[in-house]
C-alpha cells in the first residue's frame, strides 16, 4: 500500500499523457482504498513494484536483491517519508519563490530543496556569528545617500565593491530606487571582506571619492570595472571622473578613511550581516541579490506603517 501512495500522484500526472498510466492510477487508487478499508489489495501493484525492483537488482547482486525483497516494507516507508518530505520542501520552496523571488526565503538561512547549494541566493560570506542577536542596522554615520535625501524610507545596504553578488544586486537596487523615486533612498555601507582582493582598498577609495563629491559616480565605476580592480585602476577611475588626483592618491595612500571602513564593517557585523550584499529595510533583512518583487513586498509593508 505504501508505494501506492507515491505511485498515485505520479501515475495520475503521467496518465494525462498516456492511457497506460491511467490504468496504473486506478490500480494505485484501488490498492489504497482497499487497504484502508482492511481488504486485500486486488491490483497487487505494490508486489509488482517490489518484484520489479528485486528483478532489476538481481542483475547486480542476488544479495542486494534479497535485501530489497525481504525489507521491502521498510524501504517503502523510507521512500514514502522522503517523498512526503520532498513534497513539503518543494511546496515551501515554491511559496518562497513566489513571495521572495528565491526558494530560500527572505534570508539565506532557509534550506531550499530546489536549490540545495544555495547558488541562487549566494552572498560573499564572512566569518561572523550568523546567530547574532542584533538583527537590524541603524542609519548612522555620514555614509552617502543614493537617491532623495528626504525620502520616507532608507534602505541600508552592506556591500563590497569586490563582491560579485553585490554587483549582481546593483541593477535591482537601481530598479528599486527608480520605482520608489523620491520615497525611498539607499545608504551604502562598505563592508570589508578580507578574502576578496581589493575589497578594503576599493572601500577606502570610495570614501576618498566622496570627499571630492564624486561618490555615486565612483561607486558605479567600481562595480562596472569589478573584474579588473587593482591599485592602478582605482587611480585611473578617479582620474577619469575629473577628481583632484593628487588629493585622491594622498587620501588613498594614507588610508585616511580606514576608521570609517572598519566602523561600517563593524556596524554590519553587529547587525548580523553574514555576507554581502545584505539589505536592511528598517528591521527587515534581505540577504543576497533578490528581484524587485522581494524588495517591493517589504518596502510596501514598511511604507504602510504609521509615521511613514
Amino acid at each position: 500500500m505504501v508505494l501506492c501512495i507515491i505511485a498515485l500522484p505520479v501515475f495520475a500526472i503521467l496518465g494525462i499523457f498516456s492511457v497506460k498510466y491511467r490504468k496504473l492510477t486506478l490500480d494505485s487508487l484501488d490498492c489504497i482504498f482497499r487497504t484502508v478499508t482492511f481488504r486485500k489489495c486486488r491490483s497487487s501493484l505494490d508486489d509488482r513494484i517490489k518484484s520489479y525492483m528485486a528483478g532489476k537488482t538481481l542483475k547486480v547482486s542476488p544479495v542486494l536483491s534479497g535485501v530489497i525483497y525481504k525489507n521491502y516494507k521498510l524501504i517503502s516507508w523510507i521512500i514514502l517519508i522522503i517523498f512526503l518530505w520532498s513534497i513539503y520542501g518543494t511546496s515551501v520552496g515554491i511559496y518562497n519563490y513566489a513571495q521572495y523571488g528565491n526558494c530560500n526565503g527572505p534570508s539565506d538561512t532557509g534550506f531550499c530543496m530546489l536549490d540545495p547549494t544555495g547558488q541562487n541566493t549566494k552572498t560573499s560570506e564572512i566569518e561572523v556569528d550568523k546567530q547574532s542577536k542584533v538583527i537590524y542596522a541603524k542609519l548612522e554615520g555620514d555614509d552617502p545617500i543614493i537617491g532623495n535625501k528626504n525620502a520616507e524610507l532608507t534602505i541600508i545596504e552592506f556591500g563590497c565593491y569586490a563582491c560579485p553578488y553585490t554587483k549582481k544586486a546593483e541593477p535591482t537596487v537601481k530598479e528599486v530606487l527608480d520605482y520608489y523615486k523620491g520615497k525611498v533612498n539607499l545608504q551604502f555601507k562598505t563592508f570589508y571582506i578580507p578574502h576578496h582582493n581589493m575589497s578594503y582598498r576599493s572601500a577606502l577609495a570610495a570614501n576618498c571619492a566622496q570627499e571630492q563629491g564624486k561618490y555615486i559616480e565612483y561607486h558605479n565605476s567600481l562595480f562596472e570595472n569589478q573584474e579588473q580592480l587593482n591599485e592602478a585602476l582605482l587611480h585611473e577611475l578617479a582620474n577619469n571622473l575629473g577628481m583632484n588626483i593628487t588629493k585622491f592618491d594622498e587620501c588613498l595612500l594614507a588610508e585616511k578613511y580606514k576608521n570609517e571602513v572598519e566602523s561600517d564593517t563593524l556596524a554590519g557585523v553587529h547587525a548580523g550581516v553574514a555576507g554581502t550584499p545584505t539589505f536592511f529595510v528598517n528591521e527587515q533583512k534581505i540577504v543576497g541579490p533578490k528581484p524587485l518583487r522581494t524588495f517591493k513586498t517589504i518596502i510596501d509593508e514598511e511604507l504602510k506603517k504609521p509615521g511613514k
Partner: protein, 400 residues
Amino acid sequence: MFFDYNAEKTRKDFPILEKPIVYFDNACMSLKPIQVIDKINEYYKEYTACAGRSAHRFASRVEEEVDKSRNEVRKFINAGSAKEIIFTRNTTEGINLVANCLEFENGDNIIISDKEHNSNLIPWLKLSKKGIKVLIVATKEDGTLDMEDLKSKIDEKTKLVSIVFTSNVDGVVNPIKEIVKICRKNGSLVLVDGAQAAPSMNIDVKSLDVDFLAFSGHKMLGPTGTGILYGKEKALENLPQFIVGGETVTDSTHESYNMEELPMRFEAGLQDYAGIIGLGEACKYLKRIGMDHISKHEIKLNEIITEKLISNPRISVLGPKEAKKRSGIFSFNIKGMNALDISKMLDVSKGIMTRAGMHCVHSWFNKRRINGSVRASLYLYNTEEECNLFVNEVEKILRM
C-alpha cells in the same frame, strides 16, 4: 542439437526471437513462424474475400485455401474426413459447443478430472444447474490420474467423459487410450481437451478413438482466435446445431430451414479466414518438423532444468519428479516466495518470460491450498542455453 532436430535452425523462422528474450510461456501462447505470418498477410494482401458465398476469383481462392487448411488439420490429427474438422475460435469454444449441443437425460452424469482448465470445468458446472451430475475424478499426489477412481465413478449413466490430454499445470499426460476403453465399455462419449497436447505430440484421433477433440491454434504456432473441434462424423451428425445463422443452412423460409452439411453447420457467420489459413500453415510447419522431434526436444530441455533444480530443498515442483512425465512443463514454487514475484523478477532481470498464477486451473490449486506456481513451458524453438540461463537466474533468486 538433440536427435535429428536443430532448434537453432528453427529459431531463424521466428522473427520475434531476434529480441533479447527467453520465451518460456508457450503453454499460454506460442510464437509464430514467418511462414504463418506470411500466409496470413497473403490473405489480406492478395485475396481478401468471403468463402462459400461469392463466385469471383478471390472468393474461390479463399474457399480453396480454407479447404486446404481444413485438410492440413485433418492430416495433423489423422482424422478420417475433413467433415470432422470444425473451425472454432479456441478450445473453450469447442468444448462449449459440445456442452451446449449434447442432449442429456435426467440423471445423466459427466466425468471430468480434478485438474481441468476452467474451459473444461465451467461449461459442465453450468450444466449441473440443469440436473446433470458432474463427477470429479481425483489425481494422485504425483499428478497422474487415479484410474481406479475413474472406474469406480463411471456407470451406464455417464454420458460423457471430458478430460484433459496434457495438463497445463504440470504437463502430465493422461492415458487417453485407456480412458477411451473404459468409456466404450459403458457406452460413454469421450471429449478430450487437447489444447496442451496438440502443439507438442503426435495425435492420432483414429488410434485414440475419441469422440471429440478440442484444441487451439494459438498454442501451436497458429494465429490467435483460431481453434479446432474434431468430432467423429457420426457424433457430429447426431449433434444439434449450436450457433446458427449465415452459412449454417442451405435454405430457409419464414417458417423453417435446412441444415447445412458437416462441418459448415457448426461454423456460423463469417469466419476468420486469415486465421484459418494461417492455422493450416502452422499444422504444415509442425508436421514438417515432426511432432516426435518436438516432443523429445521439450522433454530433453525439461530434463536439463529438472536435473539442476529439483534437488534444491526450497523448490517444489508440481507433478511427477521425472521430467519425461511432465512433457515441456516445469511448474514450480520457491519456499517463502510468491510465484508472481519470481516470474516478474525473471522477466526484469533476464527477459525470461514465464507464467505465474493458477493457470486457469483454480479448482485444483484451491483444493490443495496452493497459491499458484511459476510455470516455465518449453517449445520447439527453446534451447539448452536458454534453459541454463533460466536455471542460473532461479539459482540467483534462491540465493536472495
